[in-house]
Every structure is written in structure tokens, then in C-alpha cells.
């Protein structure tokens, strides 16, 4: 709303100065005014000061060439390296409205659930882009939508096509191989099989697993996360256990954490020594690097396909 109002005011201002200069020819004026309006509109819609509260969106903005306009990011952003020097303005639960306003952004990417923040920004006349978390397909949709929003439709279409092609490449590579039943763990207590959070049969982690040639042991649970009790893990008999972590562990700790699974010795993954740790942010951020993340998973599931 804010942008549209601002655009209207500025457009008419330029139009009236146009009358002074080109007043003699009405037709030329109309044509020129129209041209001006179009070019101003384009320039206006390409925001010059963007704030992103979502790491995935930050990565997308950089991937479609809008990185130069990003002036601040969330407290969890680490990629690309350029964001390290950018200002931090909080995140999902603690957005710093004051600092956001002080930075005078013309577009703020926020989570769709941040309704209070959306209202406050609307009142301040600042445009927002609302991000919704979804599956792997939604990564492409989001990139295209974001591209349209920042007037970089072509770059966005290209980036989306590249991701699509990259995922296809991985799918073809693992095609026809047996799909191991996989427990995809993204959180548990240290040195214990307690509080295990695993991917259910929905969401982008599940989609990545399937693209990487795996089958989710919790495919029937249609939600993003399952709190997996030990009984459930024993009963589902995963053939591979894949633990995704944002940060790595030193070698001996890693060994100890893998050994914890030996308590569930009847689980095929444990018996076949197919418990893997992947400590890489590319597997947990639903941004343009999902292809690389998916490949990491595919390499763990099907090492022979990448020899």
C-alpha cells in the first residue's frame, strides 16, 4: 500500500513538470508521461533497501542479483559471506522494529506468521514480502514470487530453473536404485535417544530425502516433524539414520553420538553401520542451495551413485 501511494504522488509530480516543458504537443505529452510512468514504476518496484528476516529469503535475494540492495538481515543469517557485515534486526520471535524503521527500508521480507510486525510496517508505510514455509516445490515458487516482487523476474526464473534442473540431475542419478527407509533426525538430546525430532512425510526435508532417493520411515505421518519415541524408531526399522545438524562436532564427540544409537541394536541402520551425520547448513535452509543439500543426502544414501 505504502509503495503504491508513494508512486502515485511522485508520478503525478513528474507528470505536472512534464506539462511545463512539453506543453505544446498534447499527444507527445501523453506518450511521454506514459513512458515516464512506466519507467518510474519499474524503478520504484525494484526496491533499493531490502531487509530480510528469513535466511532462506536472504540467500534467494543474493541468488537473483538483488543482494546489493539488502541492508539488513536476521540474527540467524550466515550466507552468503557478504551478510556478515550487514546489520542484524532480530528474527521470527524478536524482530527489532525500531532498528528496522531506522534503516528506512522499502521492502521487508517477513514470516507470514509475523502478523503484528506486518501491521506495524503497514502503518509505517513500508512494503512487506510475506514468506511461507513449505516444501521443495515452494522454494521455486518463492524464488519466482520474490523475483517478481523485486523486479528481477528473469534472474529469478533462471535461478529457479537451475534449481529444478539440479534436483532433476540428482533424481536421475539415484533413479532405479533401492530406496532405503530413512529416519531423518533434525534434533535430539546429546548422548541419549531422547527428544528425537524427525521429519514427517511433509515439508522440504522430506521432499529433499525423496529427491535424494530415500523413503521416509514416517511417510504416513503427514506433518513436518514427528517426535519419535524409541518404540516408534524400533518398530519402523529404518535402514538408514541420517542426522542433520547445523554445526559440526569434533571427531570423538561425533563417534560418541553415533554410538548412542547402538542402544537400539535391532534397527537395521545401526546393524549395517548406516548412521550418518551431516553437519551442513545447506541441508536445513530451504533456499537456493537445496540442490547442494539434496546432493549431500543423496551421497549418504547412495554413495555408489557418485563414484
Amino acid at each position: 500500500m505504502g509503495i503504491l501511494t508513494g508512486l502515485g504522488a511522485r508520478g503525478s509530480g513528474l507528470g505536472s513538470s512534464g506539462i511545463g516543458v512539453w506543453g505544446r504537443s498534447g499527444q507527445a505529452l501523453v506518450v511521454l508521461a506514459a513512458l515516464l510512468a512506466v519507467s518510474i514504476a519499474t524503478a520504484q518496484e525494484r526496491p533499493a533497501r531490502i531487509i530480510s528476516l528469513i535466511p532462506a529469503v536472504t540467500e534467494m535475494l543474493f541468488a537473483i542479483g538483488a543482494g546489493g540492495s539488502v541492508v539488513a538481515v536476521s540474527s540467524f543469517d550466515t550466507y552468503p559471506p557478504q551478510v556478515r557485515d550487514l546489520e542484524r534486526v532480530g528474527a521470527l520471535l524478536d524482530p527489532d522494529l525500531e532498528r528496522i524503521l531506522a534503516l528506512k527500508p522499502d521492502l521487508v521480507a517477513i514470516y507470514a506468521s509475523q502478523t503484528d510486525l506486518a501491521r506495524q510496517l503497514e502503518r509505517a508505510g513500508i512494503a512487506t514480502y510475506e514468506y511461507r514455509h513449505g516444501g521443495l516445490k515452494d522454494v521455486l515458487t518463492t524464488i519466482r514470487g520474490l523475483g517478481a516482487r523485486v523486479s528481477r523476474g528473469q534472474e529469478a526464473a533462471r535461478a529457479a530453473a537451475e534449481i529444478d534442473a539440479g534436483l532433476d540431475r540428482i533424481r536421475r542419478r539415484v533413479d532405479g536404485r533401492p530406496r532405503p527407509k530413512t529416519l531423518l533426525v533434525f534434533g535430539r538430546e546429546a548422548l541419549a535417544i531422547r527428544g528425537v525430532y524427525a521429519s514427517g512425510g511433509a515439508g522440504f526435508l522430506n521432499d529433499m530425502l525423496i529427491a535424494a532417493g530415500g523413503e521416509n520411515v514416517f511417510a504416513d505421518v503427514r506433518r513436518e516433524s514427528v517426535q519419535a519415541a524409541s518404540e516408534l524408531i524400533l518398530a519402523r526399522r529404518p535402514e538408514v539414520i541420517l542426522e542433520l545438524r547445523a554445526e559440526g562436532l569434533p571427531g570423538d564427540r561425533r563417534r560418541a553420538e553415533i554410538d548412542v544409537w547402538r542402544r537400539l541394536s535391532s534397527v537395521p541402520a545401526v546393524r549395517a553401520n548406516r548412521v550418518y551425520f551431516i553437519a551442513d547448513p545447506r541441508t536445513v535452509v530451504p533456499g537456493p542451495r537445496v540442490v547442494e543439500g539434496t546432493e549431500l543426502i543423496a551421497r549418504a544414501l547412495h554413495p555408489e551413485a557418485f563414484e
Binding site: 548422548l191 514427528v226 524409541s230 516408534l232
Partner: protein, 335 residues
């Protein structure tokens, strides 16, 4: 012990004991999956291959035992705190033990600190350390002014410490990332899926000591309920009794919370329910509450794991859903 009391005690112990035993025997038979019990208990099959045996012995039995121990500890500690503070609304968590434990656990979760001690993971250790710290602070405050323990100061110091620790917990949570936040909230709801005998073995000696003291405490608690002055004239050492009650109930609570997190309501509804059934004599109420608490928590855990399989409802949610309305009913009925 005069004959009528002994008879009532035997009846109560028989009844609640049978209930607890039945819960402990039956609970491992139920779960989100169906297992072949004959296969599970067949020793000729190698354990490493035997899924049914692993579900029975690794998943179900430890959590049943954990439920029984934690339920017994919280219910008995609830009786002791209610007697010590002479306040029917006291719970094992009133004096800040659980808030201290929670602060310890939250700190470990945010900092990612994982150092283990004799094989015990960091979270239970930190939670027990946190509860010990809280107990020490409350005790020091309650003793400072009078030499003896002032139950009023205990209560006020405990409630204030609870609020203070809760604020610190919020502060710690503020710095946590999403994944940690999720795990923190989960810990705060309580969970019995220990998947190993290790946490139970670590808590058992502490609980044994606490229960030993509870056994001695029954008579002093009866007298303390008349008020410290009256109790003193009846020939008990009020200070010693208060101290013993405070520390034993705190240790039991701290150990229980380190195993399963702060599972709510067991420590308040079980003592009241038991009093409704057997009267107010602590010699009967204490052991009956421990047994009934064990049966109740084990039963709640069965509901938690079979209500909507394959997903599990946190057992703390079940105890609160069953316990909350019941407690309100009790309050209104009594009022």
C-alpha cells in the same frame, strides 16, 4: 502403632500396592505398536535381532520403571511439602526445585554443553545441579532469620525464587535458536521415554535415601501439622524434622525431575485424592501416595503412548488434562 492404624495401613498398602503392581506389569504390554510377547521374552533368540524384545526391554520397560519411580517420588514429595508447609496447595515444585532444574537444563540446551559424567548425559546432570542450587538458596534464606526453618519464609522465598528462575529461563530462551527452543519447551512438558536404564539407575540411590527419610518422617509430619509449637511440646525435635522433610522431599523432586522433566499435577492431586480415601494420617497417606502416584503416572504414560499412534502425546499433557479438572472439582467440593 495401634492395631486399628496398622489394619488401615495394611488395607491401604494392599490396595494401592496391588494397583501399582498391576500398572507396572500391564503397562509394558501396551504401546503404539503390537509386539509378540512370546517372542519378546524368548531368551533363545539373539537380543540384537529381536525387535519385539528390544521394544519391550529398551523402549517400554525403562519408561514404565521411570514412570513408577517419578510418580512415587513426586506424589510422596507432595505429601511431605504439604505437611511441612502446612499448606494444601504446596507441590513438589512450590519451593523452586523444578525452576532451578529447568534453568540448569535450559542452560545446557542453549550452550550446547555436552560434557558427560560417568556416562550420564549433560541435561539430567545440569537439571539436578540446578535443583540443588535452588534448594541451597531457599534453605539459606529460610534459616537466616530464625535459626530454625520458618515455613512462611520458606514459602515466600520459594515462590519468589520460582518467579526469579522463570525470568532467567525466559532470558536464556531469548538467546536460543529455533531448534533449541523446541527442545526446551519439550523438556518443560516432561517425558518418560528414557530409552535406557541409565537415568533410572542414577536417580535410584537418591530416591532410596529420600524414601528412607520419608518412612521416618510420617509421625513427625503428623505432629507438625498441629503447628511447630504444639509439635515441640509432644516431644519431637521440630528443627530436625523440618530439615529432614525439606531436604528429603527436595532430593526426591530433583532426582525425579532430572529423569523426566517437571511433570506437573502428580505431586498435588495424588496426595489429595489419597487423603480423601484414607484420611489424613501421614503414616498411611505417605506410602499410599507413593504407590498411587506410581500407578497414576504409569497409567497416564500408557494413555500418552496409545492415544493417537504413531504420534505420542507428552505425558505431562495427560497428567495436566486429567489432573487439572479433577483438582478444580476437589477445590470446589471442599470449599
Amino acid at each position: 502403632m495401634n492395631p486399628p492404624v496398622r489394619r488401615r495401613l495394611l488395607v491401604a498398602l494392599g490396595g494401592f500396592g496391588a494397583l501399582a503392581a498391576a500398572a507396572i506389569v500391564l503397562a509394558p504390554l501396551a504401546g503404539s505398536t503390537s509386539i509378540d510377547l512370546r517372542r519378546a521374552l524368548n531368551p533363545s533368540l539373539p537380543f540384537a535381532d529381536n525387535v519385539d524384545a528390544q521394544i519391550f526391554f529398551v523402549a517400554r520397560l525403562p519408561r514404565t520403571l521411570a514412570g513408577a519411580l517419578v510418580g512415587a517420588a513426586l506424589a510422596a514429595a507432595g505429601v511431605v511439602f504439604q505437611g511441612l508447609l502446612r499448606n494444601p496447595l504446596a507441590t513438589p515444585f512450590t519451593l523452586g526445585v523444578s525452576a532451578g532444574a529447568a534453568l540448569g537444563a535450559m542452560l545446557v540446551i542453549t550452550t550446547g554443553w555436552t560434557a558427560a559424567w560417568s556416562g550420564l548425559p549433560a541435561i539430567p546432570l545440569a537439571s539436578f545441579a540446578g535443583s540443588t542450587g535452588a534448594v541451597a538458596i531457599v534453605y539459606a534464606l529460610a534459616r537466616a532469620r530464625h535459626g530454625g526453618l520458618s515455613t512462611h519464609v520458606l514459602l515466600l522465598a520459594g515462590v519468589t525464587l520460582n518467579a526469579f528462575f522463570s525470568a532467567l529461563i525466559l532470558f536464556v530462551q531469548y538467546f536460543a535458536d529455533y531448534a533449541d527452543l523446541y527442545r526446551m519447551l519439550r523438556w518443560l512438558v516432561g517425558d518418560l521415554d528414557v530409552a535406557s536404564y541409565q537415568p533410572i539407575a542414577a536417580a535410584a540411590p537418591l530416591l532410596a535415601v529420600a524414601f528412607g527419610v520419608f518412612a521416618w518422617l510420617a509421625r513427625p509430619l503428623n505432629l507438625l501439622s498441629l503447628g511447630p509449637d504444639a509439635a515441640g511440646t509432644r516431644g519431637i525435635d521440630v528443627r530436625t524434622a523440618q530439615r529432614a522433610a525439606f531436604f528429603s522431599a527436595s532430593v526426591a523432586t530433583g532426582a525425579a525431575v532430572s529423569v523426566a522433566g517437571p511433570i506437573g499435577f502428580v505431586g498435588i492431586i495424588i496426595p489429595h485424592l489419597v487423603r480423601l480415601m484414607v484420611g489424613a494420617d501421614h503414616r498411611i497417606v505417605l506410602p499410599s501416595s507413593a504407590l498411587f502416584g506410581a500407578a497414576f503416572l504409569v497409567g497416564c504414560d500408557v494413555v500418552a503412548r496409545t492415544l493417537m499412534p504413531p504420534v505420542e502425546v507428552p505425558v505431562g499433557v495427560i497428567t495436566a488434562i486429567l489432573g487439572g479438572p479433577f483438582f478444580l472439582w476437589l477445590l470446589v467440593r471442599r470449599g
